[in-house]
């Protein structure tokens, strides 16, 4: 139980993949112009991280140490392809919006990072949970960035217009620079909120 709480805290803020480990920045910049896109991306990443961590953990005792990265990459790509096919078949519009970023989950350092830093040395259940929570930490950051970007850039939330007609869309927010500003602000604010206890930290990319 203690371990679950520890993993939970680590994923959400202490060792958050985006603002503490600075991983997965590429996709955080790219898909955060709409809340819906960020949500699907986040859920997708949670799925992939959780199941690849689970698989890596289950086979950790049989995997020859020196080829473990190859095995991890294979496992991760398999889950990403499953996700990609699933989106294409059942959510074609979302698949189109996310474009190449679904496939690029394979290269998202968060997943490999968790497989290496956690799943490789821990039991399957807690690894699965760790992957899930790390994905959740990523999703929360993405959603908060997307919240501001979509609100200011389109005047809408989840595609529903919330700001009135006299709101002038702040186009900068939905263009790439807006993402850089927002991620910078998130990292700045969170480092004030959750000061580092000591300089040893968790997994480094």
């Amino acid at each position: 139980m203690n371990e679950i709480i520890r993993v939970f805290k680590a994923g959400i803020y202490k060792d958050n993949p985006v603002f503490r480990q600075i991983l997965g920045i590429c996709s955080s910049l790219a898909v955060t112009n709409f809340l819906a896109n960020s949500f699907v991306m986040g859920v997708g990443l949670m799925f992939v991280t959780a199941f690849s961590s689970l698989t890596v953990s289950v086979i950790r005792q049989f995997t020859p140490k020196h080829i473990r990265m190859m095995v991890q990459t294979l496992i991760i790509s398999a889950y990403v392809i499953i996700l990609d096919i699933f989106l294409k078949a059942y959510f074609p519009a979302m698949s189109k919006n996310l474009g190449p970023y679904v496939g690029l989950i394979i290269t998202n350092c968060i997943i490999m990072g968790r497989a290496e830093a956690f799943a490789q040395n821990n039991k399957p259940f807690i690894s699965f949970f760790d992957g899930l929570i790390m994905g959740l930490g990523y999703t929360l950051v993405l959603m908060s960035v997307a919240f501001v970007r979509e609100l200011l850039g389109f005047g809408s939330l989840f595609g529903i217009q919330v700001l009135g007609d006299n709101w002038v869309n702040w186009t900068l927010m939905i263009m790439p620079p807006g993402a850089f500003f927002m991620i910078g602000i998130v990292i700045w604010v969170t480092s004030k909120w959750f000061p580092k206890e000591e300089e040893k930290g968790g997994a480094k990319a």
Binding site: I75, I85, K88, A89, F154
Partner: protein, 200 residues
């Protein structure tokens, strides 16, 4: 140097896990192939119905039914021509186009009246324009402007406020608007030649 045994075991392990995962993926791919294909077809059908100024919303079944009832597809020299027939009379043609946008290619469908004297509608199926700027070509108000525009041999679409302008551009997306206008105008010229040649 690794001993011989340490090479064989990892290779076997890798081979085994690769075979396992590949077969799982192959199975999933095979079982969803038809659904994905259907989704893509549906998008094309929606787009064709839209440019021919027909109801293009509704469930997949409705779209399929309407499409099969009214549209016939013909392959003319490698180009797919979608023809709308009502009571045996052709009432419109739709053709696919692709052209250069600001950031990448823009593709979609354009609908014509049966004598190719006017444009019935334009739709964009894929593009990579900036969301919120050029990406707004997807918005209904922009696409609806292309309805029932008489075809001109040289320049059918003209951006307002030029003389004879018939389309409002998108604020902040001048280049995308220009690219779209060029694509459509060029496509109209090409289509007129194509239609004459193919005797549509």
């Amino acid at each position: 140097m690794a001993s011989k045994k340490k090479i064989i075991a990892p290779v076997m392990f890798m081979l085994l896990i690769t075979i396992l995962y590949t077969s799982v993926l192959a199975f999933i791919n095979e079982s969803t192939k038809s659904i994905i294909n259907e989704q893509e077809q549906l998008r094309i059908k929606r787009s064709v119905l839209y440019v021919l100024n027909m109801e293009s919303t509704g469930s997949g079944d409705e779209i399929n039914q309407r499409f099969d009832e009214l549209i016939t597809v013909r392959d003319v020299n490698g180009t797919l021509v979608y023809k709308r027939l009502e009571n045996g009379v052709a009432t419109g043609y739709a053709l696919a186009y692709t052209g250069k946008g600001l950031w990448g290619s823009i593709s979609g469908y354009i609908g014509f009246s049966p004598d190719f004297s006017s444009v019935l509608g334009v739709d964009f199926v894929s593009h990579s324009e900036t969301p919120g700027l050029g990406g707004r070509i997807d918005e209904p108000w922009f696409k609806e402007q292309f309805r029932e525009i008489p075809v001109d041999d040289l320049e059918t679409i003209v951006i307002k406020p030029s003389d004879g302008g018939n389309i409002d551009g998108i604020t902040g997306a001048t280049l995308t608007t220009k690219a779209v206008v060029n694509i459509v105008n060029q496509f109209i010229i090409d289509t007129l030649a194509f239609a004459k040649e193919a005797n549509l």
